[in-house]
């Protein structure tokens, strides 16, 4: 069902504003909109001014807290498989004390992070310097000495691995001496000596070769001494880094303070932004928004605590601007996740959730079709629901999967399948006993039966979808369209089915089908302007029968995926029992169960989920669904790292 929406306008006193906003946020059932939509807006627009919101400072605080949380989470002790978020009472978010603590911690963390990155950068620079000095390690003279009284010294790196005889010779000819210090892949390292009068000539000779000068100025000791110094420095850095990391790890124990601070700030931002949707005078304010009808009593009760005037107006429920909230009975609520994934229905159309739910369950169950896997899925989902914080939409999704697990168990029992034929195979292999699980329907031995069942359910699914489209047409005042577009097809389908039955029923069916077809030919071209258009439109519409046929055939995937699950499982069991009834066989079987069945579970759960959804989205939704509704986004408590506990606990 699409929830009925009303428009709410509240005229309140400025003094109450903050308290009222906080309260509405806690209730989380009003979507604020700008008051321009009020009917008498033009009259009051001169009296009021729009609320301003300036969240810049808050946003900055948010990003600092966020950065600190990310930095600290590295040092946080690893949470177990099922981690829960910290619980915070809603009032505590606005506690100034907690905020101060968070800000103080944030400053300390930031300082630590800065120190850490500076030291890491310095250590990296030292390492680079060591790399640069290592080739000169063999040189036992201070590196900053570049001349003596009579001679000049140049440190040159000759690039590449080319033979260097030419270089040495050229320098010798110019009156200098090139002493090779070392060589590696990057190049050859030379100390070039020249007597002062020859320096010019030697430099000129060097220019003929691809060399670069090594920068040595400022290095007072020998290369080996410098390296030793740098290594000592790196060691010191490593020690200091360890200290800072330890202190960060200590801070990480208080990470919840930061998380709360982050969420408190984001709530403040939400309030600030919501304030921008209000209209203000000196002493009063106007708040407007969408409110689901069923929440009205609660909100009325809350507003009566204030001295304020409020009014709700009923609106046209087919207004495309109306936000869409899906509101279904509890059993169908998890399947809203499927609808939301596709698109929200337009206001005034149909929420497919409750109609699709039973079909989805059947399809998923028939595809996954194994009691063992279904049980596993159910257990995993229940554990997730119980032990972790999933958020609202995550919870819906996992609940849906849990229901699918249940349906898989049912079909698994029908098909007599528990981890494939594990029980039979193990009994035969290890105990020599013949166990036969009761099978009401065995897709491996009666594939045709399952195929026909699949397509029959698919046919019902499609016919049901067409029925929903007829319902929409009638509701919108076009009963004739419903008859022409859906009713005649129903006649054709019914006729064709009776024709298959044969006998006198078949004879009646033949005429029913013909009547339906004639009806279609006469009416399907009615939108066309010309007579010829009307006739060709009508005749061509009969080709749609191929569309319906391929739709029905598409449901054969239910059999195929069911077979895939069963056959992969039995292949795994065969491989697992191949070595025979001995220790190796036992190990093999355990491996197959742990690895093989896990793999089969994962790949087929994914396949069943996707293909059951596809049958809804393509075959079912295509018949009647009108998507594109705007989601209802209430002004509510949204937190990231913590779970807000409010007085009115989430209704489930």
């Amino acid at each position: 069902m699409i929830a009925v929406m009303e428009k709410l306008a509240v005229y309140g006193l400025s003094g109450d504003k903050d308290r009222m906003m906080r309260g509405l946020m806690e209730k989380g059932c009003v979507q604020l909109v700008s008051p321009e939509t009020l009917e008498d807006y033009s009259e009051i627009s001169e009296l009021v001014e729009r609320g301003e919101h300036d969240a810049y400072a808050l946003e900055q605080r948010l990003s600092r807290f966020g950065g600190a949380v990310t930095a600290l989470s590295k040092y946080e002790k690893k949470p177990g498989l099922f981690a829960r978020k910290p619980r915070v009472q809603l009032e505590e978010y606005s506690s100034g004390d907690a905020m101060e603590k968070a800000a103080a911690l944030c400053v300390r963390v930031e300082a630590g992070m800065r120190e850490l990155s500076e030291m890491k950068a310095a250590a990296a620079a030292d390492r680079a310097q060591i790399d640069a000095l290592t080739p000169w390690k063999g040189l036992d003279m201070p590196l900053n000495v570049d001349s003596t009284q009579r001679a000049d010294i140049t440190y040159a790196i000759l690039a590449g691995r080319e033979p260097t005889e030419g270089f040495e010779q050229a320098i010798q000819e110019a009156g200098g001496a090139a002493i090779k210090v070392s060589g590696d892949e990057a190049g050859t390292y030379y100390m070039v000596l020249s007597c002062k009068p020859d320096t010019e000539a030697v430099q000129a000779a060097m220019r003929g070769f691809p060399y670069s000068r090594a920068a040595m100025s400022g290095l007072r000791f020998t290369a080996a001494e410098n390296i030793a110094n740098l290594e000592r420095e790196i060691k010191d850095f490593d020690y200091a880094i360890g200290m800072v990391e330890e202190s960060l790890a200590e801070h990480a124990k208080n990470i919840d303070v930061l998380k709360q601070g982050y969420d408190a700030t984001s709530l403040e931002i939400d309030c600030e932004k919501a304030g921008g949707k209000l209209m203000n005078t000196d002493r009063s304010f106007i708040l407007t928004g969408w409110l689901p009808e069923k929440e009205l009593p609660g909100v009325e009760k809350y507003l009566s605590e204030f001295s304020c005037y409020y009014v709700t107006t009923k609106v046209d429920q087919t207004d495309p601007d109306m936000p869409v909230l899906l509101d279904n009975p509890k059993w169908a609520r998890p399947f809203e996740a499927l609808t939301e994934m596709y698109s929200l229905p337009l206001p005034g159309s149909i929420d497919p959730g409750p109609f699709m739910a039973p079909f989805y369950l059947i399809f998923f169950g028939m595809m996954f079709s194994d009691a063992g896997y279904g049980l596993l899925l159910l257990i995993i989902c229940l554990l997730l629901l119980k032990k972790t914080d999933l958020g609202k939409s995550g919870k819906k999704f996992v609940r849906m999967l849990a229901a699918c697990g249940g349906s898989t168990i049912v079909f698994g029992i029908l098909y007599g399948s528990f981890f494939g034929d594990l029980i039979e195979v193990v009994a035969k292999n290890f105990f020599g006993a013949t166990v036969v699980l009761p099978k009401l329907l065995d897709p491996l031995n009666q594939p045709m039966t399952v195929l026909i069942v699949s397509m029959a359910i698919g046919f019902v699914h499609i016919v049901f979808g067409m029925g929903l489209s007829a319902y929409l047409m009638i509701k919108r005042g076009h009963p004739w369209d419903a008859l022409f577009d859906v009713g005649f097809w129903y006649l054709v389908f019914a006729g064709l089915l009776m024709l298959i039955a044969g006998g006198t029923v078949g004879e009646v069916g033949k005429w029913l089908a013909i009547a339906g077809a004639v009806g279609l030919v006469c009416t399907q071209g009615r939108a066309k302007p010309t007579i010829i258009g009307k006739i060709t439109g009508g005749v061509l519409s009969l080709y749609d029968v191929t569309g319906y046929l391929s739709d029905v055939l598409s449901y054969s995937r239910i059999l195929a995926l069911g077979l895939a699950t069963a056959v992969i499982a039995s292949v795994l069991n065969i491989i697992g029992t191949m070595p025979g009834p001995n220790l190796l066989g036992f190990i093999m079987l355990v491996l197959m169960i742990l690895i093989g069945h896990t793999f089969n579970f994962a790949i087929n759960a994914l396949g069943s989920y996707v293909h059951a959804a596809r049958l809804q989205y393509v075959e079912f939704f295509g018949k009647f669904f009108e998507g594109g509704g705007k989601p209802f986004v209430p002004f509510a408590v949204n937190t990231k790292y913590t779970v807000a506990e409010t007085a009115c606990e989430e209704k489930e």
């Binding site: 994934m341 491996l444 995937r557 059999l559 077979l563 895939a564 790949i603 996707v610």
Partner: protein
């Protein structure tokens, strides 16, 4: 000369050979298709993971989609091996006609797998781009890729029904 011809005939126009060739075809071609497909999506996905390692799970789901063709082919190959008694150690002697039937039944899954896996992979690789920008839209990307798989499923179904109902 004649005996050479005869020995060639008895090797290659032999029922068992044709049946095993069918098993090999089913596994071989659908496997090639899936390997190429998974590779293609994996390649596209690693770019996204480099930017945001948290998306690994979603990318993995997309990468798994074109992997099913190989599984379908493997299943058909396995069933052929099982039905012809190859696994239990005492192979049934098949006539040339029977062997040719089994060979024919492996063809749908072999060739549709070969082509559809890379095609599905391209759709899934497009889905990777969707994940990069809007990770909440995973299911739409998945459904787009799953549309291609329909034909692999149909071919698997036909191969399966043919192998199952083969009179041996």
């Amino acid at each position: 000369m004649e005996t050479a011809m005869e020995s060639i005939m008895s090797t290659f126009a032999n029922g068992n050979f044709l049946a095993y060739l069918g098993a090999a075809f089913a596994v071989l071609f659908s496997g090639i298709g899936s390997a190429r497909g998974c590779g293609l999506v994996g390649e596209a996905g690693s770019g996204v993971i480099a930017e945001d390692p948290d998306k690994f799970g979603q990318i993995l789901v997309l990468e798994a989609l074109p992997g099913t063709q190989g599984i379908y082919g493997f299943l058909i190959g396995f069933i052929i091996m099982m039905n012809t008694g190859l696994l239990s150690g005492n192979p049934i002697t098949l006539s040339t006609v029977q062997g040719a039937w089994i060979f024919a039944s492996s063809l749908p899954v072999a060739f549709v797998g070969l082509i559809s896996a890379p095609a599905q992979a391209r759709a899934a690789a497009g889905g990777v781009a969707v994940i990069a920008k809007r990770p909440d839209q995973l299911s739409k990307a998945m459904v787009l890729a799953a549309m291609v798989e329909t034909y692999a499923i149909l071919s698997f179904l036909v191969s399966m029904l043919m192998v199952f109902n083969m009179p041996i």
